[in-house]
């Protein structure tokens, strides 16, 4: 029969506290349940904005059809 190793009370209490502490994931679930979604820009705002800018630039720099026709002539 082996002699059980002795654990200092502080060491055991620290391990107990670690095991019983509220996990961060649980805390985050609680926080999210309390704080409603804060209004703000939608997640797609930046890509939609980029797309619109690209379209405007494309249109602004495109050669007009009459000019193309004149060049062809």
């Amino acid at each position: 029969m082996t002699t059980p190793a002795r654990h200092d009370l502080d060491e055991l209490l620290a391990a107990w506290a670690h095991a019983r502490r509220l996990p961060d994931a649980d805390a985050e679930r609680i926080r999210q349940a309390i704080v409603p979604a804060v209004p703000g820009l939608p997640a797609t705002w930046w890509s939609e904005f980029n797309s619109k800018i690209s379209t405007v630039i494309t249109r602004a720099t495109a050669t007009p059809a009459p000019a193309l026709a004149a060049l062809g002539a």
Partner: protein, 178 residues
């Protein structure tokens, strides 16, 4: 008026500052870990609703406000379940059945056994000692902070903590080196 990003940030700071202490308090007060989590959520939900009132307060007064709510919720919880005795009974029963969950799969078997013994011994402590011990260890609060939170003199907190440690050391045949 809908909440702003600033409101959410302020609340998150308060939540992060006090969540461990509040959870530790409820761990000491109620038998059921799920109930402890629910009570943490209810406490901070009330803090969120009163955010404009508590946000400007200094940290120790925020803690006092939050623990006033927590104490009232714990009392309501007892009343609702008519359960102080039942809770104590559940604590004892729970202590005998949660050996594996306390230790976790990666903890050495012998340490796990000692942790289960410690858990059972903590659950048999008088409630006032159990709450203070939980707040000091799991909550990481000083005796002064616990005293402020519970409305007790720091000397009383230190005395109860010392009594709890002596009881645990005696039960587990450990050296107590406060």
């Amino acid at each position: 008026m809908p909440p702003s990003r600033d409101d959410a940030a302020v609340f998150t700071r308060i939540f992060d500052q006090h969540r461990h202490a509040v959870h530790a308090y409820f761990l000491g007060r109620v038998a059921d870990p799920e109930l402890a989590r629910d009570l943490v959520q209810e406490t901070f939900l009330r803090a969120w609703r009163r955010l404009p009132e508590i946000a400007p307060l200094p940290e120790e007064r925020q803690r006092a406000w939050i623990f006033t709510v927590a104490r009232n919720l714990a009392i309501d919880s007892y009343r609702a379940s008519a359960a102080r005795k039942a809770a104590e009974e559940a604590l004892r029963h729970h202590a005998t059945t949660r050996e594996t969950t306390v230790a976790g799969p990666h903890v050495h078997a012998e340490l796990g056994e000692r942790l289960a013994q410690l858990d059972a011994a903590i659950r048999r402590l008088p409630e006032d000692q159990r709450v203070i011990l939980s707040m000091a260890t799991a909550g990481g609060l000083t005796s002064r902070e616990i005293g402020e939170a519970l409305g007790e003199p720091a000397g009383t907190v230190r005395y109860r903590l010392s009594q709890a440690r002596k009881q645990l050391a005696a039960t587990l045949d450990l050296e107590d080196q406060p």
